[in-house]
Structure formats: structure tokens, C-alpha cells
């Protein structure tokens, strides 16, 4: 039997998908804007964040409504809760892209610094993670999701290295200190984005298996 | 639309007048009975035996006879009837045996009372040598009222919800404890109703006692159950058709009829009270 709860869950799914796509696009654009030091594009990203926020509110509302009216259980319940969490994470990612875009605007006025390309790589990595996390979320594919969690370590390593590099650079190039600080911030943003992508992957595991892998990064902790 | 309404009104009017006609008939009936009967009834009429070729005196032996016959018949039919009802409701399993028993009871209920009279005459009076006597009458009437008792008892027992039974069994009661402690107490008002109705039916029964228990005239009360008795309904019949002076005894006839009808109405009234009390409780 095909129930209207299923219908509404599909609609919820569409909303989350839309939001995820927006965030993914925003992240892509952010990396673009950063690599090309394109202030206009960056401006666009900042402007677009509102629409992401709006989607978050709508998703929240839909989830609340479904929880209140349909008393969902099992898969349905897990999906709805997963969506609630994912929308929080996605919203935060949106904010982070806006932050990066903000920094990009400041940086675009000055010449580029040598570690920009490393930062871009990091951005790409986090973008890949986000893409995979979204894929895992909608499949839902717990194995892929676990992969995403594992990728997070790489990004963290990369992050540490870049920070070290930037700080070293700062010692030598004092005039670039402010910009370097911005860059540290950008690196931090990308690192956070990959963290958040990990969260989404965790939600994917939760949806498909009903288990919570937060703080564990493995399947078998069912009580 | 209006045609619908008019049609409806006409039909309802017809229906109402049918009901009215019934009541009218009853009213006429009671009117004549009471008007002509009430004057004949007196204390003496009730406590004296008939005299002078039944043209004078009272109907005391008839009243006593009717009471003896009807109460006696209940003693026969009640245990058998309730027992049968318990069997049917609580023990019988679907099958051939049950079908036969049911068929037996249903058809017994439809046997005309005159045929019961013939049977009583042939079996109890003649074959068992009970003669025309109270005993023969009691047994005949008892069997006659058996289906009524079974029917009402069965209904009363069935109306005890199955869930009572299950509850009792689930508490660890045996089947007989359940029947005795739960089912019968709940069914008693229903059974009582049946008993009273069957007494009232038996009390008015004529054809079945004509050749089994009733006697044309006896100035004394019977001293044993092997003697015949006078009975109210038979007395009415005798006075009205076979008496020596039909017109002269007419007031007596009315009086006797009124006593009989009064007796029966009284019992029915009690039965109705019991039943409505039970219904009010549910």
C-alpha cells in the first residue's frame, strides 16, 4: 500500500535534496571564487545563503509536522530525524561557504599567496566528501557513508599541514599577516565542512541501519 | 416532493388505524367481560363450591383446581426445561444430536393442545393407568409447557454474555461452578419470566385437560393427586355449552371468565414487571 505518509516523506526528501544540492553548488562556487579570486561570485554566494537558510526552516517545519501528525516509526522516523540533523549540518555548511566567500572578497584585493592552491585542494577534498556524503544519505548507503567518515582524517591531516605552512609563511612575510589569518580561517572552514559532511554521513548510517556511529566511526555499537 | 409526503401520510394513517382497530377490539372485549362479570363476583363466589346443578354458589374448587394443575405442571417442566436449556446452551456440540433435539423441541411447541389432550388420555390416563386425575393433568400440562420453559430459559441463558463464562473459566473455575455461580444467577429473572408466562398459559388451557384431569362437577376438593378436579376454563366451557340452564348461569359464566382473565393478567403483569426491571438494569 502506498500511503500519504510516504508521499509526504518523498516531498521531505525532495526538499532535503534541493537543500543539499544548493549547498553543494555553493561550495563548488566558493572554491571557484577562491581559486579565481572572483569577488562577484563570492558576493553571489553570500546572497544565496538566505535561500539555504529558508530551506532549513522549511525542512524543520515539515519534519515537525510529520512527527506531530504521522507518529512515524522505524525507517520513516529515522529518515525524518536524519533529515532534521542533515538540514542543520547543511545550513551550517552554507554559513561556512558564506564565510569563505567573505574572506575571498577581502583577499581578492591583494595578490595571491603561495599556499592558495593547497587551500583549494583542501576545498576540493571537502567538496568530494560532501558529494559522497549526500550520495550516501540519499541512497542510503552505509558503506559509502563509512568511507566518508574515514576521509575526514585525511582532510584533518591536510589541515594541520596547511596551518603549519601558513604560520611559517607569516613569520617570513609580515605584511601578509592579515591575509594569512584570513587564509587560516578559510582552511578552518573547509575542515569544518568536511566535519559536517561526516555528520551527514553519520546520519546516513543512522537512517539505513538505525545505529549511531557518532564518536565511534564504526557500525557495531548496538546495545 | 409533496406527493411523496402525501403518500407517506396516507400510508401512515392506514397503519395507525390498523393498530387502533386492535385496541378497539380489545376494549370491546374487556368492556363486555367486566361489565357483565363484575356483578357476579363476590367473596362468596370465590370461596364457595357450586350448588344447585351449578346454577348457584361459587367456583372455589375450580380456582383451587386450576392453581394445583398449573403449579404442578411447573414442577414437572421447570427442572426438565432448565436442564435441557443448560444442555443446549452450555454443553451441546454442533451436530446431528443437537439438530434432532432442536427439531423435537420446536415441533413439540407447535403441537396443538387438543393433541396433547389425546396423548395424555392415551398414555398417562390409559396406558399408565393414572386415570383422569390431577396427576395426569399435571404431567400433560407439564409436557405442554416444556417447550415454553426451554425456550425462555435458553434465551435467558444465552443472554448471559459469553464473556462471563470465559472470565470465570479463566479464573480457574470448573464448568459446573461457572454455570452454577455465574450463568444461572444471571439467567434467573429470565427464567422466572418464562415460568410465570407458562403458568398463565397452562391456567387457561382447556382442551388438554378436558379428557385428562378436569371433571364436570365435584362438590368437594380432591384429596389425592389421583382424583380429578374442576378447573376454571373447563368450568366456563361447561357452563356456556353443556349446562342445564345456559341463560340462567350466564352471570356465573361471566364471573368465572373474569376471574380467569384477572388471574392470568395478574401473572402476566408480574412477568412484565420482572422483565422490564431486568431490562432497566442492562
Amino acid at each position: 500500500m502506498y500511503t500519504h505518509l510516504q508521499q509526504e516523506i518523498l516531498e521531505l526528501r525532495d526538499l532535503v535534496l534541493k537543500m543539499a544540492t544548493r549547498v553543494k553548488d555553493a561550495l563548488g562556487m566558493t572554491i571557484d571564487a577562491f581559486s579565481k579570486m572572483d569577488a562577484n561570485l563570492a558576493q553571489e554566494i553570500i546572497a544565496g545563503d538566505d535561500r539555504i537558510n529558508e530551506l532549513e526552516v522549511r525542512i524543520d517545519k515539515t519534519c515537525l509536522k510529520l512527527l506531530a501528525l504521522e507518529a512515524p516509526v522505524a525507517k520513516d522516523l529515522r529518515f525524518i530525524i536524519g533529515c532534521m540533523r542533515a538540514s542543520i549540518d547543511l545550513e551550517r555548511m552554507g554559513d561556512e561557504t558564506a564565510n569563505v566567500a567573505q574572506a575571498t572578497i577581502v583577499l581578492s584585493l591583494k595578490p595571491i599567496l603561495p599556499f592558495y592552491s593547497r587551500l583549494e585542494t583542501m576545498g576540493q577534498r571537502s567538496k568530494t566528501m560532501l558529494e559522497k556524503a549526500i550520495e550516501a544519505f540519499f541512497a542510503p548507503d552505509p558503506d559509502l557513508a563509512l568511507n566518508v567518515c574515514k576521509m575526514d582524517c585525511n582532510v584533518n591531516e591536510l589541515y594541520s599541514k596547511i596551518i603549519k605552512e601558513i604560520i611559517e609563511y607569516m613569520y617570513n612575510e609580515t605584511p601578509a599577516i592579515e591575509r594569512s589569518v584570513y587564509c587560516i580561517n578559510i582552511a578552518r572552514r573547509f575542515e569544518r565542512i568536511s566535519d559536517l559532511a561526516t555528520n551527514i554521513a553519520e546520519s546516513a548510517v543512522f537512517i539505513s541501519r538505525g545505529i549511531n556511529i557518532k564518536h565511534y566511526c564504526q557500525f557495531d555499537n548496538r546495545s | 416532493m409533496d406527493i411523496k409526503k402525501i403518500k407517506e401520510n396516507i400510508v401512515f394513517w392506514v397503519i395507525k388505524s390498523a393498530a387502533f382497530l386492535n385496541l378497539l377490539a380489545l376494549t370491546i372485549f374487556l368492556f363486555f367481560l367486566v361489565k357483565n362479570g363484575i356483578s357476579a363476583i363476590s367473596w362468596k363466589f370465590l370461596v364457595l363450591p357450586p350448588r344447585d346443578m351449578m346454577t348457584k354458589g361459587g367456583i372455589m374448587p375450580c380456582i383451587v383446581g386450576t392453581l394445583v394443575l398449573s403449579l404442578g405442571s411447573i414442577i414437572v417442566s421447570l427442572p426438565l426445561g432448565v436442564g435441557a436449556a443448560i444442555y443446549l446452551c452450555e454443553y451441546a456440540k454442533q451436530g446431528k444430536m443437537l439438530r434432532i433435539i432442536r427439531l423435537g423441541i420446536n415441533n413439540l411447541a407447535g403441537v396443538p393442545s387438543i393433541v396433547f389432550g389425546l396423548f395424555g388420555l392415551a398414555f398417562f390416563a390409559t396406558y399408565l393407568h393414572f386415570k383422569v386425575s390431577i396427576l395426569t393433568g399435571i404431567l400433560t400440562l407439564g409436557l405442554l409447557s416444556l417447550p415454553v420453559i426451554i425456550g425462555t430459559s435458553e434465551e435467558a441463558i444465552r443472554s448471559v454474555p459469553d464473556t462471563y463464562k470465559e472470565a470465570s473459566i479463566a479464573l480457574g473455575a470448573t464448568k459446573w461452578q461457572t454455570i452454577y455461580k455465574i450463568i444461572l444467577p444471571s439467567a434467573i429473572p429470565g427464567i422466572m419470566t418464562g415460568v410465570i408466562l407458562s403458568i398463565s398459559r397452562v391456567a387457561g388451557e382447556t382442551a388438554a385437560i378436558m379428557y385428562t384431569a378436569a371433571v364436570f362437577y365435584s362438590p368437594h376438593l380432591p384429596t389425592s393427586i389421583f382424583q380429578p378436579v374442576m378447573a376454571l376454563p373447563y368450568h366456563i366451557y361447561v357452563l356456556a355449552t353443556a349446562g342445564t340452564n345456559i341463560d340462567k348461569t350466564r352471570p356465573l359464566q361471566y364471573g368465572t371468565a373474569l376471574v380467569l382473565v384477572g388471574l392470568i393478567f395478574l401473572m402476566n403483569f408480574i412477568a412484565i414487571m420482572i422483565r422490564s426491571k431486568k431490562q432497566a438494569k442492562n
Binding site: - | 456440540k93 462471563y164 455465574i182
Partner: protein, 253 residues
């Protein structure tokens, strides 16, 4: 299962005449927990429940295969006294069915049929049972009035008191709240929550939310088979079987 097993059902098959309605049920009912049986209509929940105190024996032509072990003894052994079994395994029915007697006599019935005469003892036990059923406050000043004058919810609690009075160890309940309105239902549910401190409870319910609310363990039946048995929490958040998932999310049928 983390808890002590009160009843172990082993390879249970059940037939009405030729018609098999339970297939190879294996299930351990934990002590002093509430176990709910859910499943679509006609899947054999009631039949299973009634196997546990042999109420099915009343129906002609049934056949039982397998074992139901209560405290180490198979209740279908020959020589088992069914009457005793039933006073050890009490039952509460779908519709409230107090006897048409006084409130007191209803609860005392279990002692009457056991032939217990000790008035003080009976008084005491009636009181305790009514307390347990959360009815004492409402009825203590009219114990001798008819039980039929109570509201539906009160009647059902009276039936629970009656079942509880004879100190059973297991309480079977067949949709005990389905004939009641939501508020009375809520009260019964809360009562079941309390009663599990003392009794092992097995409850059949049509209402999945009810199973979710009251039960510690849930068994899902489908067409006479036990599909899944697990902690209620697991059943309702992440069932292992697709059938269970479909049923509880309303995709079934």
C-alpha cells in the same frame, strides 16, 4: 534476552481442526516484563495468547504440538490440572466483563470458587487487588453496589483486579483497551505499566502505538508465524525484518 524467562514456547504448532493457524512458534517470555503481540487481524495472536492458559481447550477439535514451558513445566503435559493452571495464568478480555454481582463479590469470586471462607483474608485481598488496579479510591465507598454501574474503564480495571486477586504469576490480556475511550485506555496503559512490577504480562493489541507505549518486548506475528521478537524499542526504531518494518510503518496490505 537479558531477563529471566517465565514462559518458553518451543516449536508450537496449533490447529483448529485441519486448519493450522500457528506455525512453529519459538518465543521466550521474560519475567515481570510486558510482552506485546502485534500483527494483522487473523494472524493468530489471540490463539497464541489463549494457548498460554489453555483457554483454547474449550474449543472442540483443536490440536496443539510443541511445548509451552511455564516455570520448567510443560503446560500441555498430561496430568496438568488445567483449572490450577488458569489460576496461575490469569486473563483479561477485550470487553470489560464484570459479573453481574457487587464490586466486592467480583473480586472475591476467585476465592469463592476455591472454597476459601476466611472473611478477613478475603476482605484484605479484595482491598489490595482493588488498590493494585488503581480502583480503590474510586469504589471503596460502594463495594457492595453492582459492578455494572461502573463506567467501561472502571469495569475493565475491576476485571484486572479480579484477575489479580487470585495472585496469578502471569497475566494475559487480549486487547484490554480496545473497547474503551482514549482516556480510559490511557489509564489502563498506565496500570499495565504499574502491574509489570508484580506480574509477567502478555498483551495482544491491535493498536501498534499501544504496544509501543506499554511493552518492553514486542512479538510480530504474520499469518501464524512469528516474524520478529525483540525489545520494543528496537522493533519500533530499527526492526530487522522487512515485514515488520512494512507493518509498523503502515505499508502492509
Amino acid at each position: 534476552m537479558e531477563h529471566k524467562k517465565k514462559i518458553q514456547v518451543k516449536d508450537l504448532d496449533f490447529f483448529y481442526g485441519e486448519n493450522q493457524v500457528l506455525y512453529n512458534i519459538n518465543l521466550d517470555i521474560p519475567e515481570k516484563k510486558v510482552t506485546a503481540l502485534i500483527g494483522p487481524s487473523g494472524c493468530g495472536k489471540s490463539t497464541f495468547l489463549r494457548c498460554l492458559n489453555r483457554m483454547n481447550d474449550l474449543i472442540p477439535g483443536i490440536k496443539v504440538r510443541g511445548k509451552i514451558i511455564l516455570d520448567g513445566q510443560d503446560i500441555y503435559d498430561t496430568g496438568v490440572d488445567v483449572v490450577k493452571l488458569r489460576s496461575k495464568v490469569g486473563m483479561v478480555f477485550q470487553k470489560p466483563n464484570p459479573f453481574p454481582k457487587s464490586i466486592f463479590e467480583n473480586v472475591a469470586y476467585g476465592f469463592r470458587i476455591k472454597g476459601i471462607k476466611d472473611k478477613d483474608f478475603i476482605d484484605e485481598r479484595v482491598k489490595t487487588s482493588l488498590r493494585m488496579a488503581g480502583l480503590w479510591e474510586e469504589v471503596h465507598d460502594r463495594l457492595s453496589s453492582s459492578a455494572l454501574g461502573l463506567s467501561g474503564g472502571q469495569q475493565q480495571r475491576l476485571c484486572i483486579a479480579r484477575a489479580v486477586a487470585v495472585e496469578p504469576e502471569v497475566l494475559l490480556m487480549d486487547e484490554p483497551a480496545s473497547a474503551l475511550d482514549p482516556i480510559a485506555t490511557k489509564k489502563i496503559e498506565e496500570l499495565i505499566y504499574e502491574l509489570k512490577k508484580e506480574f509477567t504480562i502478555v498483551i495482544v493489541t491491535h493498536n501498534m502505538q499501544q504496544a509501543a507505549r506499554v511493552a518492553d518486548y514486542t512479538a510480530f506475528f504474520l499469518m501464524g508465524k512469528l516474524i520478529e521478537f525483540d525489545k520494543t524499542e528496537n522493533i519500533f526504531t530499527s526492526p530487522r525484518k522487512k515485514e515488520t518494518e512494512d507493518y509498523i510503518t503502515g505499508r502492509f496490505g
